[in-house]
C-alpha cells in the first residue's frame, strides 16, 4: 500500500486506493488547529466569528483533501500534468488564504516575539513574493519534478513545498501579524497584481514548448486519451487562467472590504481614529 501519491508507471485504473499519509497529514493540520483554538480563549461576542473562521479552515482542509487524495492526487502525481496543475492551484492559491483566515486574529497575536522576529523578514511582501515564486518555479523544473514525483517521499516534499509557498505568499495579505500599516488596501491589491506578472515565466515555460517537459507525464500510460502534449498545454493554460481568476477574486474581496472600511482577508480593521489615536494626534500637533 502507498502512503502518499507518486508516479507508479502502471496503467491508470478508476479503482479507489487508500492513501493513509494524506489522511494523517490533514488530521495533523486539524489537530494543530484545535490546539490553537483551545489555547486562545474567546470572548462570548466572538463566538460567531470563531464559527465562521472554523468553517473556512475546514473548507481549506477539505480542498486539500480533494487534491491530495485519490483520484486527483494519484492522477497529478503520475499521469496528468493538468491534474498536477489543479493540485498546484488549490495547494498554493486556494487553501493557504483560507487556512490563514481560519485562524483567529487573537491566536496570531499570541505568537511569541521570537516567532514574529522570524516571520517579519520572510513575510515582507517583496520577500514573500520572490521566495514563493522561486519555490514554485524550482518544483516545476523537470529535473526536480521528475525525480521527486517518482517516490512517495519526493511527491510529499513537492506538496509540502507548495503549501509552504502558498502560506508564504498569502501571509502578508491574510495574516494580521507582523503588522504593516503601510501594506493595506490598494498595496495588497497591487501585491496580487504583481503575482500575476511573477507567474508568467512559469506559464510561458509550461505552455510554449514543442515537446512535453516532464518525463513522468510523457511516459505515463495515457488517461482518457489525452496526449502528453495537449495535457501539458492544458496545464499551462489552467495555471494562467485559473491563477488569474483566483487572484482577481481575492483582489475583489480586498477591494470590497477596503471600501467597506474593513480590512482585507485577515478580518481586522485598519488603524483609524476609533482604534488608533495616532492619526488624529498627527492632525492636531
Amino acid at each position: 500500500m502507498q502512503w502518499w501519491c507518486s508516479a507508479l508507471g502502471e496503467a491508470w485504473e478508476w479503482t479507489w486506493r487508500p492513501y493513509p499519509g494524506v489522511w494523517a497529514f490533514l488530521a495533523l493540520i486539524l489537530a494543530a488547529y484545535i490546539l490553537v483554538l483551545r489555547g486562545t480563549p474567546a470572548a462570548a461576542t466572538e463566538a460567531r466569528d470563531r464559527g465562521t473562521r472554523a468553517a473556512v479552515f475546514g473548507a481549506a482542509v477539505a480542498a486539500l483533501w480533494l487534491v491530495l487524495d485519490w483520484p486527483v492526487g494519484a492522477l497529478g502525481a503520475g499521469y496528468l500534468a493538468s491534474a498536477h496543475m489543479v493540485q498546484f492551484l488549490v495547494i498554493v492559491l486556494v487553501a493557504p488564504p483560507l487556512l490563514l483566515y481560519g485562524v483567529p486574529a487573537q491566536a496570531y497575536r499570541r505568537l511569541p516575539p521570537r516567532v514574529i522576529a522570524v516571520l517579519r523578514p520572510i513575510t515582507h511582501p517583496l520577500v514573500a513574493l520572490i521566495l514563493s515564486n522561486l519555490l514554485a518555479f524550482a518544483t516545476h523544473l523537470p529535473l526536480v519534478a521528475d525525480r521527486l514525483l517518482a517516490s512517495q517521499l519526493g511527491s510529499f516534499a513537492i506538496d509540502v513545498a507548495w503549501l509552504a509557498a502558498g502560506l508564504l505568499f498569502w501571509w502578508p495579505v491574510a495574516a494580521p501579524v507582523p503588522e504593516r500599516p503601510w501594506f493595506r488596501g490598494l498595496s495588497r491589491i497591487g501585491y496580487l497584481g504583481a503575482q500575476l506578472i511573477a507567474s508568467k515565466p512559469l506559464f510561458i515555460y509550461l505552455t510554449f514548448t514543442t515537446y512535453p517537459r516532464y518525463a513522468t507525464y510523457e511516459l505515463a500510460p495515457r488517461v482518457l486519451g489525452i496526449t502528453a502534449r495537449a495535457d501539458q498545454q492544458a496545464a499551462g493554460l489552467m495555471m494562467e487562467i485559473g491563477g488569474m481568476l483566483i487572484l482577481l477574486a481575492a483582489a475583489g474581496i480586498l477591494l470590497l472590504r477596503s471600501t467597506a472600511g474593513e480590512e482585507a482577508l485577515d478580518g481586522t480593521r485598519p488603524p483609524g481614529p476609533a482604534t488608533d489615536p495616532r492619526p488624529s494626534a498627527r492632525r492636531a500637533p
Partner: protein, 231 residues
C-alpha cells in the same frame, strides 16, 4: 517604507523577475530530454556492429503480404513488436512517435515507415490492429503472423522471444515482448534501438540524423534536413 528602501526593493523584484524570465527562456530553448545537443551521438542505443535488415514477410491489416525488406528499402524503418492490449509501453511508444512524425516536414515524413508487428496474434485481429494504430497515425503499418513466425524474426534480430503470461480469471494475460523500437536506417542496417523511456524530444533530434545514413552507409553532411523545431 522609506524611498531608498522602496527603490532597493523594487530593484530586487525586477532583478528576480528578469532572472526568472531568463531562466525560463533558457530552459525553453533547451527543451526536454536531450534535444538541442549538436553532436553525432544518438539518443538510442547504438549498435557497435549494425545488423542487416531481416527479409521476413507477414500479412498487413488488409491481409496482403508485406515484404519488410523490399517495402522499406531506402527508407528509415522503425520496427516495433507489441500488442494492442498493452497497458503501458506500446501505446506510449506509438503516441510519442506519432506526435513527432506529425511535426516533421512532409518530404522527411515520407522517408519514414513505422511498422508494428503484433506479439499477440491470438487476440490482435487485423481489424483490431488497424483500429489501434489509427488512433495514433493512419500511416503506421500493422503486421500479423503466427507466434512462431514472430519469434523467428526476433531470434534473427537477436532479441528475446515473445512470452505470454498466465491468463487471469477473465482470461486476460500480459505479453512479454521487446520494449525497444528498432531503427533500420535507409542503408538497410539496424543501427540503433530505442528503449522505453525515449522522449519525443529524443525522436525529434534523432529521426533527421537517422535519415542521413544513406545507401553508402555514411552520414551525409550534404543532406542536412530541415530539422525539427528543437533540434
Amino acid at each position: 517604507m522609506s524611498p531608498p528602501i522602496r527603490r532597493t526593493a523594487a530593484l530586487i523584484f525586477v532583478a528576480g523577475l528578469l532572472l526568472a524570465l531568463g531562466l525560463a527562456a533558457r530552459l525553453s530553448r533547451g527543451g526536454a530530454g536531450t534535444a538541442g545537443a549538436d553532436d553525432a551521438s544518438l539518443a538510442g542505443v547504438v549498435l557497435a556492429e549494425p545488423m542487416p535488415k531481416p527479409a521476413f514477410t507477414l500479412d498487413d491489416t488488409e491481409g496482403r503480404p508485406f515484404r519488410f525488406q523490399e517495402r522499406t528499402a531506402g527508407k528509415l524503418a522503425l520496427l516495433f513488436f507489441g500488442y494492442t492490449r498493452c497497458p503501458d509501453v506500446c501505446p506510449v511508444h506509438m503516441a510519442n512517435l506519432a506526435a513527432v512524425l506529425d511535426d516533421l516536414p512532409r518530404e522527411m515524413r515520407e522517408q519514414i515507415v513505422v511498422v508494428f508487428v503484433s506479439a499477440d496474434p491470438e487476440r490482435d485481429t487485423p481489424e483490431r490492429i488497424r483500429e489501434w494504430l489509427d488512433a495514433f497515425d493512419r500511416r503506421f503499418i500493422g503486421l500479423r503472423g503466427s507466434l512462431e513466425e514472430v519469434n523467428a524474426i526476433l531470434a534473427e534480430l537477436r532479441l528475446a522471444p515473445v512470452v505470454h503470461g498466465q491468463p487471469d480469471a477473465d482470461g486476460d494475460y500480459v505479453v512479454g515482448h521487446p520494449a525497444q523500437i528498432l531503427a533500420f536506417t535507409p542503408d538497410g542496417l539496424l543501427r540503433a534501438l530505442y528503449p522505453f523511456g525515449t522522449r519525443q524530444a529524443d525522436w525529434a533530434r534523432d529521426l533527421p540524423r537517422l535519415l542521413r545514413f544513406t545507401a553508402a552507409g555514411t552520414l551525409e553532411s550534404s543532406t542536412q534536413p530541415r530539422s525539427s523545431r528543437e533540434s
